[in-house]
Structures are given as C-alpha cells and as structure tokens.
Amino acid sequence: MSKQKRIASKTPFAPKIGSIVLQTIILGIVLAIAYLLFANTQQNLSAKGIKSGFDFLWEEAGLPIGDTLIEYNPSRGYGYAFLVGILNTLLVSFLAIIFATILGVLVGVSRVSNNWLLSKCAAIYVETLRNLPLLLTLFFVYTVVLAALPHPKEAIEIAQGYYLSNRGVYLPRPIAQQGFGIFLSAVAVALGVGLFFWRWSIQYKHRTGRTVSGFWGGFAIVVVISSLAYLAAGNPVSSELPIYKGFNFRGGLSLKPEFTALLVGLVIYTAAFIGENVRSGIQSVHAGQIEAANALGVPRGVVVRKVLLPQALRVTIPATTNDYASLVKNSSLAVAIGYPDMVSIGGTIIGQNGQAVEIIAMWMAIYLTINLVISFVMNIVNSRAQIAER
C-alpha cells in the first residue's frame, strides 16, 4: 500500500494549480448544464399545464392489479400501487437470482465435465439461451406455459389441494391456529441448538482433528425438535384449500402463469451467463493444483470444495455480480407478458396522470437502489473469497 502511494506522488501528472482550475471549470459547466436541463423541464411542464411533484402518490389509484403480495384494492393510492409493483419486482428478482445461480453452477460444472454428452448439452444450452433475445425467450416460455396447461375446470390435481392449470399453480394456504406461537418458538430454539452443534463440531475438529458430521447432526436436531413441537402443539397449522368455483379456483395460494413464465425465462437466460462465469472460474484454476491434490489422495469431493471452488470463485463472483444486476433490470420486460411489476404499474400511472418525469425518476431510484444493494453484498462476498494476503 505505502509503496503504491510513493509511486503516485512521483507521477508526472500530479495535480497543479492549472489543472485544478480546469477541473473546477469543467465541473461547473457540467453542473450548469444539469441545472439548465432541470429548470427547462420544470418550465416546459408548467407551460403545458402538467403538474409536477409527488403529491399524486396519495391520490386514489383506481387501477386494478392482478397479482399482489400485499392486500391491494383500487381505492388505495398511486404510491401504494407502485409499492405493490416494487415488491413484485423484488420477489421475482430475488427468486430468479437464487435459481439462476443454482442452475448456472450446474451448467458451468457440466460444461467442463469429462462426460462428453453432458458437456455438449451444457454447451448447446449456453449458446442457445445467451444468443436469443430475452423477450423472445419470455414469449416462448409464456406461450408454452399457457398451451401446455389445461383450463381450471380440467386442472391437473397433483395431490389434494395442489392444482396445476393455465390460471396458475394453486396450493393450500397455511393458516396459523392456536399453539402456533409455541410451535414457532420451539422451532427457533431448535435452530439455535442446531447451529450451536454445528459450530461446536467445527471447533471440535480443530481441537482434536476428529470429524463429527456437524451439518447433518444439526439438521437432525432441528427436524426432530420441530416435529416433536408440532405434535405437542396439536396441529398448530391448518390449511385453506383452493376450491374450484365459478370461473376459477378460490382461496389457497396461487402462482400466476405470468409470474412463473417471467421467473423461468429470467432463470434460464441468466443461468447461461452464470454458467460461463463458473466455467471460466474453474478453468482459471491451474490444473497442476488438482493433479497435486489427487496425487496426495485427497478425496474427490474435498478437492472440489477445498481446492477448486475457493479459487474459481475469485474469477466467478465479479462477473456474476454484473449478471445479477442485468437480471434485475431485465425483469422490467415483465410488462410484455402481463406480470404487474414496477414498470408495468408505473406505466399505467403515467398513462393516467401524465407525470412521467416523477415515475421515471422513481423507477431509476428503485433499480439503482436494488442494484447497489446487490453490489454491496456481492462485494462483501467477493472480498471474503479473495486471497487473504498476510
């Protein structure tokens, strides 16, 4: 670090008075242009009689939304409707990131696999998905979802209360009964004990060198205590089954086809890119290291977990951070297949009250916030994955 500083102070481009003045002038010009744009927009908007400001967020929205995470009805405000959209965007992005990561790792590992069929399949997958426009993939998935599934009247019943139809997947909705609080606290205690056991097993191994299966042990503790608590509390959770009535199922939980299609589309598209990141990560690890570990008789699984992955991650994580950010931004294509995300709902609001500048600013602020949070988290993960220099 100190070495770098010394080099910097010796560079021939050290700031001088002249360059400071120049930079100040350029900064001033940029700020002046920004102000001019802002003032001009304000003036034009008021000249056209278009309101500005965020007061409209409290006005009654009046627009219907089909798929909401929180209770919504059209008498709620524009702001609340927009919030419904933000939550939908967050939900689909969050789930898509998780599934895309899992699928991406599988694809990446398959691509470098020695199995000829597996690696070729992965290669075809990657080349197909990443070379097709996402919009096309979404339309395709949506059409397939709708075409493959029957009308709710002839819904496929997987088990009692679980239905598959072109109106979505319907599941029983869990409802808390008496004793749910007791059950919940018992689960919390079980989790605590399980985690403690896991940590203890790691320390025990460090101390004695003997291996105790900490993860599975802890897992067993959680399962056993939770099930006992469930029985003791006397069925603390009941469920509301979806029932076909009139046009569609009523009650229960539902996953709408638009949501499913968007999720699947985003996952398979992004997984192709993540797969490539994983492949480049794996290939960046020097083959000699793996050979050395194999020569020492280290088990195959341990080679992967302790030698290959930690080094591959250093290459994989920064590129994957970009793909996560792209995924969040790509979720705005939801409007094309009818999923009410933030862009879809915001677009309707613009259509109704004409305050495009405010809504676009809100879109930008939300996407920026989501992606900065992702960057922040991924940077922490990244700094942990990098070589700890001593």
Binding site: S75, N166, G246, A336, Q352
Partner: protein, 342 residues
C-alpha cells in the same frame, strides 16, 4: 387510450394553430378548396376493419370511409372523388387543424379538450363506442355483471384499466386483471384460455372476434362501461364546412329513419309524398342551398353509400357481426337522433 395519444399532440397543436392563424385570411374556405381540387382529402385510419380498411383491391371500406364518400358525393356529386389519407393516431387531429386533409373520419373520440383546445371541431357522432367485454360461449355468461371471480385480459392504457376497476367496484365484482403492453399479446392470452374475458372498445372486440378461427365460439357482452363517441372532425373556424359535414351525417341517419335507401332513393325523390323526405331529397325547398350545396346533395350521398343503417349493416354487422346496440335509431331505443332537416 385515445386520450393519451392526443396528449402527445399538445406541442404540435400550438404550431398548427399559429399556421392556421396565418393562412385563414387567404383561404377561400374548405368548400371552395374541395370544389377546386375536384376531390375530398379525407383522413382515415391505417387499417381498422369495419371502420376504414383497404380491401384486397385497395378500395377503402368501412363506416368511416363511407362517411367520406357521402360527403364527397354531397359536395361534388361523385362518391368516388375521395383521396383517402391514412393517418396514424397521433396525426389525426393535427392533420385537420393544419389543413393537410379537409376532414378526418377516423374513430376519433369527441372530447372537450380536442374540441376546444386543439384547433378542431367535431361534427356529429357516427358511432357510439365504449369499452366492452368478450367471452367464450363455453362459460355461458350473458352479462358482464356475471363476471365475478373471472380473469380478464386487457392492454395498458389511460382508461381501459380504470374503467374495468370502476366497473368491478361499482358492481361489487372481484375481477382479476392480466395487463399486457400489446394488443396482440392480450388477444392471444385470451384465445389460449388464460382469461375468461377480454376487454377493450367494443368495436375492436368485434374486429378481434371476426379474426378468430371460429368466431361463433365467442360473444361480445351487452354492457358498455365507458363513453367513446366517435365523430368526424373538421378544422376549427370554417363554419360552413362544419355545417356541411354535420348535416351530411344527419342526412344519412335521417334517411334510415325515413326509409330512404340506396335502392329507392331516386324513386323517393320523384314520388314520395312525405314532406320530410321531399325536403331532404330536394324535391321541395332547397335544403342543399342552405349549406352552399346543390339541392340533390342527399340524393347523391345516399346513392353513393346508402343510408346509415345500410352503411352499418354492410361494414359492421355483415363482416364483424356487430349488432346495432346503442347505435340504433332513437325510435328503436338507440342513441341516433338526427336533427330535423328543414
């Protein structure tokens, strides 16, 4: 939806208004211009079946096209002396206010803002449109009020979603909307069974219905949940020209009321004993002269395209299966009420 597109025209309107102010002193009036040109420049859509749509021979068909023909026939004596100018939605008001066309007959909703602040005048309503619902006959629904619990496909726009939500709230229905950006996606989602119903302007529903493989499997429900009165428009300030277009439309509607058809118009003009018919067809008095036209103005118009009922049947009922509904004569319980020609 129409109102939103209009909104984008705001900045052009000011320019157009200035241009209009500069030229109105020089112009001798649209009627003279049309006579001098020997043809009527009439703005129509880029293709909405039933309203204005070129057929396979390139001939414009539809209710809006026929209104253009009727005006040309009344003014020039020739229903084919029309130059059809296809206009995009955002041009339809500007093209009139700037003088690019003599009139526009293009599914344009008569709104206060357009009539007052955009340099155009509306003439007479030729079609009362409004948002409606289409469902599959299989679900056995005969009224939109029975759609409780149904899923409805629609496109995003100014009023479509709002109207649906208002309708659902007013009738205490729980309706699940699926909102698409594009019309095609919404129609396809409906066709694939994702939705129980599709909602948009009812005339468009009829058009979509006609496009399905088996239109008899789908039915447009009787409820109309918004007001979209469609009327031809002319430039603001030329009162004589506005009168001409207005009274030609009233003439077509009156002709149906009075039983004057394309087939019997010559006979009626010569032999009818009904004073109203005589006045309209110019066999007594000179109604044409009141608006600067020949006395046989309506004879020509009706000879060219028939009366309103014939126009409607030819373009909307026969091809799209659209019933008269609110567009029936007032005597049949509809909204069509032509002002008396006398």
């Amino acid at each position: 939806m129409r109102e939103f597109k209009m909104f984008k025209n705001m900045k052009y309107t000011a320019v157009a208004a200035c241009a209009l102010g500069a030229t109105s002193g020089l112009s001798a009036g649209t009627l003279d211009d049309v006579k001098a040109a020997g043809e009527l420049a009439c703005g129509v859509s880029e293709g909405v079946s039933g309203f204005s749509n070129p057929n396979s021979d390139g001939v414009w068909e539809g209710l809006d096209s026929d209104v253009c023909r009727a005006v040309a026939a009344a003014v020039l004596g020739d229903g084919d002396a029309v130059r059809f100018v296809p206009l995009a939605s955002k041009q339809k008001v500007l093209a009139v206010s700037s003088g690019q066309v003599d009139m526009t007959s293009r599914t344009t909703t008569w709104t206060m803002k357009r009539d007052s602040a955009e340099g155009v005048d509306f003439t007479a309503v030729v079609f009362y449109d409004g948002q409606g619902f289409m469902t599959s006959t299989q679900i056995g629904v005969s009224s939109a009020k029975e759609l409780d619990g149904a899923t409805v496909c629609l496109t995003t726009g100014t009023t479509t979603e709002l109207n649906l939500a208002d309708f659902a709230r007013a009738n205490n229905l729980s309706i699940e909307p699926v909102v698409f950006e594009g019309k095609r996606e919404a129609v396809e989602a409906y066709a694939s069974g994702r939705c129980d119903a599709l909602t948009t302007d009812s005339s468009q529903l009829a058009s979509f219905r006609a496009g399905f493989a088996d239109p008899s499997q789908h039915v447009v429900l009787p409820e109309i949940i918004s007001k979209e009165p469609l009327a031809p428009l002319v430039a603001h300030g030329d009162n004589q020209w506005k009168d001409i277009v207005t009274w030609v439309v009233y003439g077509l509607i009156s002709a149906e009321e009075l039983g004057v058809t394309q087939e019997n118009v010559a006979d009626m003009a010569a032999n009818s004993g009904n004073p109203s018919v005589q006045r309209m067809l110019g066999s007594s008095g000179n109604t044409g002269g009141m608006i600067g036209l020949e006395s046989d103005w309506m004879v020509n118009a009706i000879t060219a395209v028939g009366n309103y009922g014939e126009i409607y049947k030819r373009n909307l009922t026969d091809t799209l299966g659209l019933e008269r509904g609110v567009n029936a004569q007032w005597t049949d319980g509809g909204l069509l009420y032509a002002m008396p020609i006398r």
